[in-house]
Symmetry: none
Subunit: 414 residues, 2 copies
């Protein structure tokens, strides 16, 4: 069924507030086979009416968010009723529960609040457990003077919309949506190869399978490959993707490489230390964003200066003088120094030139060495990521994490 979202609110179009509803609703309704085909965002005012009128013509299910509050710019309820020629009736029970709610909280009653008890004729009330604005549901009506889709009017604050969606909207959707052919979505999180190489490797062969839709999404050092379709077709696509991309796929569930690493290390009861020069704390920050980081990460050393490399991690000054701070021998020494001092199973290091200054003809901005120290050996890799400072750090971090991941999965296969 054709599904659309209309987000209302001037604050969204001023950039003061980020919309979170599209992502939330899209994920909730996906298992029903529903996909958002269009999303619009319009300011409070007449634009809501225009957008509703247009979307009534093409959506079969329409979610409208925002504009159900008590202030003068909250007019979604009135716009819907007006457009459909429905009268608004004050709902006595709703009014009583609003009075009750405000009294409990010691909030003053204003005339605007009473408007929240107005309900268009024929609408079903969707209770709001976390706010004063009830949601509304109106059945699709193709026989009225203006044809309308299944219409859900939902409150703007995510902490109100989200519980309401699970409790009241989903049961209604289940009754509306005719069971269709079961189809699935699978995502492969890939690192170490760029988007165009991924497409070259799998694009044509996947697109040749009928009933499979293929899409990509990339972030620095990460490509998500997404396939959507029926089970059988997906199975065939899955084989091609796994065979072709192999261990460049770091996960089919976790969209964060550091989460995969924490899981692998936790399972083995192994630990990690970090020696970061050019990534400057990004590795540590990403790992410690994840619950469970404390059982895995013993220590991190941000060794930006040569002095810190020498004093904190015991790197030999002669090594720095001879090869430079950005070099494979220093990357190795950093990783080994961190592993020794933290007494961890593994240690990762990074040293490179993030820029914008500091490059030289032999070592231009973007040059980076990453190293991984473990009990049996220390391995190092050189990369070249010429880009802005933050992207450079992201790419270097992905390269470092991936070096560790490959080590961990290769050992688990032995």
């Amino acid at each position: 069924m054709r599904t659309a979202i209309l987000n209302t609110g001037t604050e969204l179009l001023l950039g003061d507030v980020q919309d979170a509803h599209l992502a939330f609703i899209a994920r909730e309704i996906f298992p029903l086979g529903l996909r958002i085909e269009e999303r619009r965002t319009v300011p409070d005012g007449q634009a809501i009416r225009d957008a509703l009128a247009e979307l009534f013509l093409r959506a079969e299910i329409l979610f409208v968010t925002g504009g159900l509050g008590p202030t003068s710019d909250d007019i979604t309820r009135e716009m819907i009723a007006g457009l459909l020629g429905l009268e608004l009736h004050q709902h006595p029970q709703l009014l009583a529960s609003l009075r009750q709610r405000l009294q409990t909280r010691g909030i003053k009653w204003t005339s605007g609040i009473a408007r929240q008890a107005d309900v268009p004729a024929g609408a079903q009330i969707l209770p709001n457990e976390n706010g004063s604005a009830s949601g509304l549901y109106l059945k699709a009506n193709i026989n009225s003077h203006i044809a309308s889709p299944h219409l859900f009017a939902l409150p703007g604050p995510p902490r109100e919309l989200q519980p309401m969606f699970g409790r009241s909207v989903m049961p209604i959707l289940h009754s509306i949506v005719r069971p269709s052919k079961p189809f699935e979505c699978r995502i492969y999180h890939v690192t170490g190869i760029g988007e165009s190489l991924v497409e070259e490797a799998i694009g044509q062969r996947i697109s040749a399978i009928s009933g499979v839709e293929l899409g990509y999404c990339s972030r620095p050092g990460d490509v998500d490959v997404r396939i959507i379709g029926e089970s059988n077709a997906l199975e065939r696509a899955d084989k091609i993707i796994r065979t072709t991309l192999g261990d460049s796929i770091y996960s089919t569930s976790e969209a964060a490489l550091e989460k995969v690493i924490i899981k692998l290390l936790t399972k083995r009861k192994e630990t990690l230390a970090l020696a970061e020069s050019c990534t400057g704390g990004l590795l540590a920050n990403r790992i410690t964003n994840m619950p469970g980081a404390s059982t895995v990460l013993l220590a991190g050393y941000i060794v930006y200066s040569n002095e810190a490399k020498i004093n904190a991690l015991g790197v030999d000054l002669k090594l720095i003088e001879r090869y430079g701070a950005v070099s494979e021998p220093v990357a190795r020494a950093l990783a080994e120094g961190a592993r020794m001092r933290a007494r961890s199973t593994f240690a990762l290091s990074t040293t490179g030139i993030a820029g914008p200054t500091g490059g030289s003809p032999g070592k231009p901005v973007g040059t980076v060495y990453v190293a991984l120290a473990s009990l049996d050996q220390t391995i190092a890799r050189k990369f070249f990521f010429p880009s802005d400072r933050e992207t450079f750090k992201e790419l270097a971090a992905q390269a470092a994490f991936d070096l560790l991941r490959k080590k961990l999965i290769s050992r688990s296969n032995q």
Copy 2:
């Protein structure tokens, strides 16, 4: 001028990726007197063409984001050319610079990449300094067989779109938008007090000044106060804001506290070390995202485990046993240990309970101590930030940075 945004990308409608462009573009064009009147999001495919056709009828300026990449679902360029009846020509210089770019990075050439050098007849190329997809600008044309607005096609990744917008789009907009009454926009970056307290302090008094529009935007630990209007009115508002908020305003130009700190330290030729437990590298990561960080940051220690606190920074085990790792004495010892070892002018430390586990009745999740060690004294503060893990880290980082900033500005006033 009527302004709209069309976001393209199936990934946006599946909820895999959050759109960041609306908020960014809305803020950038605000000082020009432009406001987004409509935003649409559609999946890759024919829907792009339909949305373009509709928006051509009502927008005078249209920003289209996404779909300029090298893969087969990137079809924005072709859709625009097709709709306007413009031929696509391969641009030889663009092709050469694409080849150069890939060669430098050692990336293999694919046929999809060549499509990125296709340019609709009459379009101006907007250079992309952080990616391979150039942007495009097409002048409004009301005389062609299909009337079209000023049209900007921009790449999907924010790290590519944002610099392109400042460098290439804004100058074009300045030439398009007719100068209206001279009005300005001023922003005050505030930390240490919440949005509702800021509003309580200044809201009514600023709103009472005619000709001033007041807005707020808040992120964890940060409130931006924005006033817009004519010069004279803004001067009056400025006085009230500065008098009332005082040194809670950390900048009127830099939207990053760490940048203010780097500037202050650099001016004084002073240096910093970090001892991070609960912030886990966020302080170091934020500082090293800024060019110039290397002259200021000597070393950082991520001391998640008690062992690391003891071994790397010489914290006394008895102190931890007696007061707990999350305590004021340990925060002080961490800062002093980092300062001693790195031989820096200052050192900041954090120790707290990020959650979701690890809390206790006496020290619930959200408890955090930050300390600042300097030559003359060590100061410490306790905060309580009960929230999710990442927000907790952000709030703790802001509190730590602000402790240092206040120290630096108090010394400069002596």
